[in-house]
């Protein structure tokens, strides 16, 4: 009939489109007056009908007729309810109608219902007829018309949402408004229209048939697309449950909450047990249901005092149901329905608190997501037009025949829809708005799973249904969606990280961090390989868990303390230890640190990027991680390492803690036993591979292998921490026992280590035991001792794990454990401003260093196809030179940074002086050696010089090793000179450490027999000697509370043992023969000169002089000279501190007399490393030309010394020594302190020269005004 009109169909269609678009725009402009708005909007809708008729055809005509029917009923409902509202309010102005929701809840609800239906939001099927019209346009190739229709829908959505929000949710502008009486005649109409709308929404088929009949195409009705299929039980359960809960909630809160948890649990169980799904759907169904369950559990406590809890639970379950529907859909009809439902239900949760900000955020959220969905809808219809079906399987089957241009456009449409949801820049603006405004229980799933729905869409539609092969074919049309995902992912990553850095509000910061994480997921996903898919999906699951926890914890903070700003969180960790502890754990995990789940997925993502040769993406992710470390660690620091001020705060309710605790458990499990998760995501990866005809996933082995020693130390650290809650003394003893036990464990497991690593592990745990014993004395009156012991033990666990690793994955994981968060906790212990700043700085520096290494390791691992050391060594010769060289340099840079080489700004690289002394000493003496240890291990791994020669040769050495040696040599000079001008007690020692590490690095890098032997011997000597020096410094600090050398003087008489040990160790370090430190340096000098590196040798010789100057300065300023104030009350340290020092001294002495004690094992290590072993015997001299024996010299020295002593004491047959005042030119009133020449008065000329050349500052690194924290040391 209308279809037979004589008008040109094309022209009619365009006329309809014009009316539609112009009408919608006018409607938008008449937003102030509801009456006008509805009238204009109705006219615009007529445009839609004309459009449908104009396009014609079976689908078009049917759609047009259906639209007439649907709009009549649904718009009728809108008109009637609007009339009702306007009538009772007495005004049609939107401003006056605002707040109707409070005044007339039922009528407003029905008004909203009507409007949502007219908009065609999926549950209300108003869209059904629109779909048909759009579909017919696409089917006939009238894409522009379809696009116009889509655009119109988006415009309409905008003003409908404005109206709904103003009328239904916003508070009334004029609270005193008197309502007019109800117009009874209107209420008669409302009920049937409402009923009819519901019926039409739930059972559209009869209306479809009727419309087809009117259109005269009933015989062709089969050509009309089937839009939906029945809902599965997994969806119905939460949906029906949601309604049931609402009803229960009207009666009893308690039962509602209980049943909510049960229902969510049942839904989760059902999702887990569901077998009929492909791996991708199953993975996401489990994820959605699992997080959903935790949200409900959390809400029990969180919503217990909240308003409108019934409505809240109702929408939570509807949202969970919708997401499950989305995950389990097997055709696009349902897929789209649930997509819209997901947006719609979550919208109500976002605006739950109905504040103006929440409403604004919700508005933008809804509008953006709905618009994205319309675009996606366009893609869906396009796919149907091409493939003739909505069924996923059918579309996949039809994929090879699809026109590339159409396919590319469809892919783009899908991408837009998903990208909005996932929050890709530039479609992200809803995300940072909605997260902070939603209740925290909702922010969590918004970040945790709703954004992931977008990722799910990308995986499912683009990589599973379309497949990588089809996408590649589409890309030939000039639109590469995979590329787009990568680029936008990178953009989102950078944007998110940078924005997060500047946030002042906790939840906003977390929201931006979500953007960043989504960005990295997308950047990897877009690579399109099966490994990339697996990696990004692993991160999807991990991020869901981690970010949910973070938002939950943030919610708990806000709920309990009312503090939303980051700066206000100071010290809250002391009041809410469980919540904040879990928050910190998730923080560590999300920074990608082991042994937590985030590390595994980050590792896999970096690997996936490297495997595709995309070093740029991997590097970008690492840069992002460094930025993230800034803003994440800042909060942990505030929570735990600042004092709390303010009113008393309680821990969060049990159910909230339970949810948080469960998530924390998942993070730990995901880190130490990731296989279950990996299997699940790898199945998806394989599916993607199958769809794209790619090779299946080959996952590297990502399981942490815990050597017994590491396991003991790790579990021991936890035990120490727990024991510390009841007794710190017991915790201290336990800590000593744990470290000693791990020493024994290393001995018992000797066969799992190579000789080098075995020796390293023994030293780590051996020196560790001594330092831990010392620490229990040092810390005896300090605060939070158990925390310190635990962190310290954990550091050692990392070191031992590193030594016990057989592959790069484990090596790196334990490297990170050793040098990241455990280290930070130990360093920040004093909680002064200085300690916080310096520890933070060092943490960031370590993160940067580790990132270099990370990238290098990923390059090695992907090129070799395995992270196993042996496999990499085997594969190394086949790697291209740039790749191999790049990887090697990156790993070396990481290791050198750890050892504080690279003399650019050593003060940035050095571990902070503010740390408690036992740990400072340990870091200097032991931990930093992991750098040189790694360099040597790598050098040997690649078979010594042979392979490294590929990268160039300089003066008979591989270029890389030559560079390392030169860096070491320059560092010797630079750090040595810097040590001379320091005045801080520990800063001086730390600079000296860097200097000595330079010796070790340089010698090892020489790679000759003598060089490696000298380096390793100095490695051990310095370990003992520098540890001793630090421990002496600790004794001074305990006795004096001083931080700088200028505060000291004359302590030697009060602390003779400490002084003797210091002088012995110091002179040994300075290389005074015949002490042990000289022996190893002698080897290094010989090695440098013998290998022809004279300049390095000269550096080494002069470096000793600097060390001597620094040590004598320290010795003078602290122990000798005139006694200062500090010396008055000083006394010798307790036995628990002195005994470890004496043991170390004995060790030094033995090595000094019999260098063979070290050299024989070193020869064995060299043998195993494939180097020519040094010629050494237990009792024999040092090797090399000459064969000098320090023991002989020592004995002769002692004999001659005894003779000279006789001369000294023979005078007057050993008469008592006369003690007299010092000569002060007759001045008798000068106090000893006043005549003391302090540290800063020494070496004037050389001091000035060094400062001048090196631009060293006068500042000692201590903030004299900083008295806020705890005293540096106990009394």
């Amino acid at each position: 009939m209308i279809a037979e009109a004589t008008l040109d169909p094309g022209l009619t269609a365009w006329l309809g489109a014009a009316i539609l678009l112009i009408g919608e725009v006018i409607a938008l402009l008449s937003l102030r007056n509801l009456t006008t708005l509805i009238i204009v909007s109705t006219v615009a809708e007529i445009g839609y009908i004309i459009l449908g008729v104009g396009i014609g055809g079976t689908v078009g005509d049917t759609g047009a007729w259906m639209h007439v029917g649907y709009q009549t009923v649904m718009r009728g409902l809108v008109v009637i309810t609007a009339w009702w509202l306007i009538h009772r309010t007495g005004s049609a102005r939107l401003d006056d109608l605002a707040g109707s929701g409070r005044r007339m809840p039922w009528a407003t609800a029905l008004f909203a219902f009507g409007l949502f239906s007219v908009m065609g939001l999926s549950p209300f099927k108003g869209s059904f007829s629109k779909f048909l019209i759009l579909y017919s346009a696409i089917e006939q190739g009238q894409w522009l018309l379809a696009a116009a229709g889509t655009l119109a829908s988006i415009i309409a959505a905008f003003y409908y949402m404005r109206v709904i929000q103003r009328v239904c949710f916003e508070p009334p502008a004029d609270a005193s408004l008197q309502l007019r009486p109800e117009p009874t005649w209107l209420s008669i109409l409302i009920a049937p229209l409402t009923g009819l709308t519901i019926v039409m929404s739930v059972w559209p088929e009869p209306f479809l048939h009727q419309a087809a009949a009117w259109a005269g195409v009933i015989q062709d009705v089969a050509r009309v697309p089937e839009f939906e299929s029945p809902w599965s039980l997994l969806v119905l359960l939460p949906y029906i449950g949601g309604f049931a809960l609402y009803l229960i909630g009207l009666h009893t809160k308690m039962m509602r909450d209980l049943h909510a948890v049960l229902l969510a649990g049942a839904t989760f169980a059902l999702a887990v047990l569901e077998t009929g799904l492909d791996p991708a759907s199953h993975l996401f169904a489990v994820l959605f249901a699992g997080i959903g369950f935790l949200v409900v559990l959390y809400s029990w406590g969180y919503m217990s005092h909240g308003e409108n809890a019934n409505r809240y639970y109702f929408f939570v379950f509807l949202m969970i149901g919708s997401m499950l529907g989305l995950a389990t859909a097997h055709e696009f009809g349902n897929f789209y329905v649930f997509w819209e439902l997901m947006t719609w239900t979550s919208y109500f949760l976002v605006i739950h608190e109905q504040t103006p900000k929440a409403l604004k955020a919700g508005f933008i959220y809804f509008l953006m997501c709905a618009s994205g969905a319309y675009v996606m809808n366009f893609g869906i219809l396009l796919m149907h037009a091409q493939a003739g079906s909505f069924e996923f399987a059918a579309i996949t089957a039809a994929m090879p025949t699809i026109n590339p241009a159409a396919g590319a456009i469809a892919a783009l449409c899908f991408f837009v829809g998903f990208a909005v949801k996932a929050g890709f820049v530039p479609l992200h603006s809803w995300l940072p708005l909605a997260h902070p405004e939603a209740p925290s229980s909702i922010s969590a799933p918004l970040s945790g799973i709703l954004t992931k729905a977008g990722i799910f869409g990308l995986v499912k539609v683009l990589y599973v249904i379309f497949g990588a092969a089809a996408l590649a074919r589409f890309a030939e049309s000039g639109l590469d969606v995979g590329m787009l995902i990568v680029v936008l992912g990178c953009l989102t990553l950078v944007y998110g990280e940078v924005m997060a850095l500047f946030q002042k509000e906790l939840k906003r910061m977390l929201a931006y961090s979500t953007l960043a994480q989504i960005g990295e997921i997308a950047a990897i996903l877009g690579l399109g390989t099966s490994l990339a898919t697996t990696a990004s999906l692993l991160h999807v699951t991990n991020h869901a868990v981690m970010k949910t926890l973070l938002f939950f914890a943030a919610g708990a903070f806000i709920l309990q303390s009312g503090r939303r700003q980051i700066a206000d969180l100071a010290g809250l960790g002391r009041k809410m230890p469980f919540t904040a502890g879990c928050y910190a754990l998730a923080t560590v995990a999300i920074m990608g640190l082991p042994p937590f789940s985030g590390f595994i997925s980050k590792f896999l993502m970096i690997t996936a990027a490297a495997a595709e040769g995309r070093i740029d993406i991997a590097a970008l992710i690492l840069v992002g991680s460094v930025i993230a470390a800034f803003y994440y660690l800042r909060i942990v620091r505030l929570l735990f390492f600042h004092p709390y001020e303010g009113p008393e705060v309680q821990e969060a309710p049990v159910s909230m803690r339970a949810a948080i605790g469960l998530l924390a458990g998942l993070i730990v499990v995901g880190g130490v036993a990731p296989s279950l998760q990996l299997d699940a995501v790898a199945a998806v990866g394989n599916m993607v591979a199958a769809a794209g005809t790619l090779p299946p996933v080959e996952l590297p082995n990502l399981t942490l292998v815990w050597p017994a020693a590491t396991l003991i130390a790790t579990l021991g650290a936890v035990a120490v921490w727990l024991v510390g809650k009841s007794s710190v003394v017991a915790a201290g003893r336990l800590a000593i026992a744990v470290v000693a036990a791990s020493f024994v464990a290393v001995l018992l497991q000797a066969d799992r280590y190579d000789s080098l690593s075995f020796a390293f592990a023994l030293l780590v745990s051996g020196v560790g035991t001594l330092n831990m014993a010392y620490a229990t004395g040092y810390m005896a009156h300090g605060h939070a001792q158990a925390r310190f012991y635990a962190a310290f033990t954990l550091m050692m666990a990392g070191l031992m794990g590193m030594a016990g690793s057989h592959d790069f994955f484990n090596f790196f994981a334990f490297w990170e454990l050793m040098s990241s968060w455990a280290l930070y906790v130990a360093l920040v212990h004093e909680e002064t401003n200085d300690a916080r700043r310096e520890a933070f700085k060092y943490f960031i520096f370590n993160t940067v260093g580790a990132s270099f290494m990370f990238l290098g390791i990923a390059m090695f691992g992907t090129a070799a196809g395995s992270f196993d050391f042996a496999a990499i060594a085997d594969a190394a010769p086949q790697m291209t030179t740039p790749w191999f060289g790049g990887a090697l340099v990156l790993v070396f840079v990481g290791m050198l940074m750890k050892a504080a080489m690279l003399p650019v700004r050593i003060d940035y690289q050095m571990h902070p002086a503010t740390a408690p002394t036992p740990v400072s000493g340990y870091i200097s003496a032991v931990l930093l050696k992991s750098g040189p240890y790694g360099v040597l291990k790598l050098f040997a791994l690649f078979g010594g010089a042979a392979l490294l020669d590929r990268l160039g040769v300089v003066s008979g050495m591989p270029l890389v090793m030559y560079a390392v040696a030169v860096i070491g040599g320059v560092t010797v000079m630079y750090a040595g000179a810097m040590a001379v001008v320091q005045n801080g007690i520990k800063r001086l020692l730390i600079y000296s450490t860097v200097c000595q590490l330079g010796y070790i690095t340089m010698a090892l890098a020489l790679g000759t027999t003598l060089g490696v032997a000298g380096g390793l011997m100095h490695f051990v000597n310095h370990m003992m000697v520098k540890d001793l020096l630090f421990l002496c410094a600790g004794c001074i600090m305990v006795a004096s509370h001083a931080k700088t050398l200028d505060e000291l003087g004359g302590l030697g008489r009060k602390m003779p043992i400490t002084f003797a040990i210091f002088l012995f160790a110091g002179l040994s370090l300075a290389g005074i023969p015949p002490l042990n430190g000289f022996s190893s340096k002698w080897l290094i000098y010989q090695a440098s000169f013998q290998s022809g590196h004279y300049v390095l040798g000269i550096f080494a010789l002069i470096g000793s002089l600097f060390t001597l100057a620094a040590i004598l300065k320290f010795a003078h300023a602290a122990f000798m000279g005139a006694p200062g104030h500090a010396a008055e009350h000083a006394e010798e340290a307790p036995a628990i501190m002195l005994v470890p020092m004496m043991l170390l001294t004995a060790g030094c002495f033995v090595v000094g007399m019999m260098p063979g004690v070290l050299l024989v094992p070193i020869a064995a290590i060299q043998q195993q490393l494939g180097l020519t072993p040094i010629d050494a015997t237990w009792m024999g001299p040092l090797p090399g030309t000459g064969g000098w024996h320090p023991g002989v010299l020592s004995v002769l020295l002692l004999v001659l010394g005894a003779v000279s002593w006789l001369y000294l004491r023979l005078g007057r047959a050993g008469a008592p020594i006369i003690r007299s005042p010092i000569h002060l030119c007759g001045v008798g009133t000068l106090s000893p302190a006043a005549s003391h020449i302090g540290a800063s008065n020494l070496y004037e000329s050389s001091d000035a020269a060094i400062r001048g050349v090196l631009h060293a500052k006068y500042d000692t690194g201590y903030d004299p005004d900083d008295e806020s924290g705890h005293a540096a040391t106990p009394v």
Partner: protein, 310 residues
């Protein structure tokens, strides 16, 4: 017998008693010659021996605020280190040190020990003069040790060894470095070095008696002071012998060789030490510091570069 060789070398000859006697005799000659240059009669040649005996008979004194073990240990270690050091330097044609005692590198660091013990002694005494002496000594050492290291490196690079015996042997076959123009800058640097190391004018800044009352030595008296005097005498032997070894170790075998060596030392002592110390004034520490970082450093670098290129 070989087991006894190096203990004897250390205790009797050329270290130990021989070195003590030689050192004290050289000191006596120095004092006598200096007196003559200044128009005085001067003490007898044996005066340093008498001084030691006299000091041994005094009671030991120590400041009440001194760290006593270190205060008294320092002179012992200092004296002993130089007795050992004397056994490390060859006497061309007469004595070649056993490698087990050490090479040029060991000697180089052993030579630092007297300076170290002086610094420690000054510091341990508790006296501000001692501390100033210590500070000056270290500053001076930081300045002169660099050129010395470079000189040593140049010699080692030239001969290809750090063994003192090898260095002697090399010059015996290739000619003395004294006559080798390439080594002249190094020689000049060495000449600048040893007055500083021996603590004589113009570089006696750490112990300057007119400024800091002998600095580190101020609080010493009796046998402890005697040991320091002994150390100083021994050090002269070691440093001058080292100079001979590095630059002119040519001498006949046997007793004639020993005579030649003693003659060289005497000439060096009188010309290189006595004449210098009586004819010059003392520098300030900053002047000395700058001096060493300017001339000797550059000279030794020139030699090293020349050797490396040759």
């Amino acid at each position: 017998m070989t087991e006894l060789a190096y203990p004897l070398a250390v205790m009797l000859f050329p270290g130990g008693l021989f070195a003590i006697a030689l050192g004290l005799a050289l000191k006596g000659a120095d004092r006598r010659f200096a007196a003559r240059l200044q128009g005085r009669v001067g003490p007898p040649l044996m005066q340093p021996f008498y001084d030691l005996v006299k000091l041994a008979r005094k009671r030991t004194m120590a400041p009440d605020i001194a760290a006593l073990p270190v205060f008294l240990g320092a002179p012992v270690v200092g004296a002993v280190s130089m007795m050992l050091g004397a056994a490390l330097v060859p006497i061309p044609g007469v004595y070649a040190p056993d490698p087990i005692l050490g090479d040029l590198l060991v000697l180089l660091y052993l030579l630092a020990v007297p300076a170290v013990v002086l610094m420690v002694a000054g510091s341990a005494s508790g006296s501000p003069f001692g501390a100033i002496g210590f500070s000056r000594e270290m500053a001076l050492m930081l300045a002169y040790e660099g050129p010395l290291v470079l000189v040593v490196a140049a010699v080692a690079l030239r001969t290809g060894s750090f063994s003192l015996s090898d260095i002697v042997a090399y010059q015996q076959t290739h000619g003395a470095f004294l006559l080798d123009p390439v080594m002249w800058p190094a020689l000049a640097a060495f000449v600048a070095f040893y007055p500083a190391n021996l603590g004589i004018v113009p570089f006696d800044i750490p112990e300057a008696e007119t400024e800091v009352l002998e600095g580190p030595l101020l609080e010493y008296s009796g046998p402890a002071l005697g040991l320091f005097k002994l150390m100083s005498a021994l050090k002269a032997v070691v440093v001058l012998s080292l100079g001979v070894t590095l630059f002119y170790p040519l001498a006949p075998e046997g007793l004639l060789g020993l005579v030649a060596h003693l003659a060289k030392l005497l000439v060096l002592m009188l010309l290189g030490v006595t004449v210098v110390r009586v004819s010059m004034g003392r520098m300030r520490i900053d002047q000395a510091f700058r001096f060493f970082l300017k001339w000797p450093l550059v000279l030794s670098l020139v030699s090293l570069a020349a050797v490396a290129l040759a």
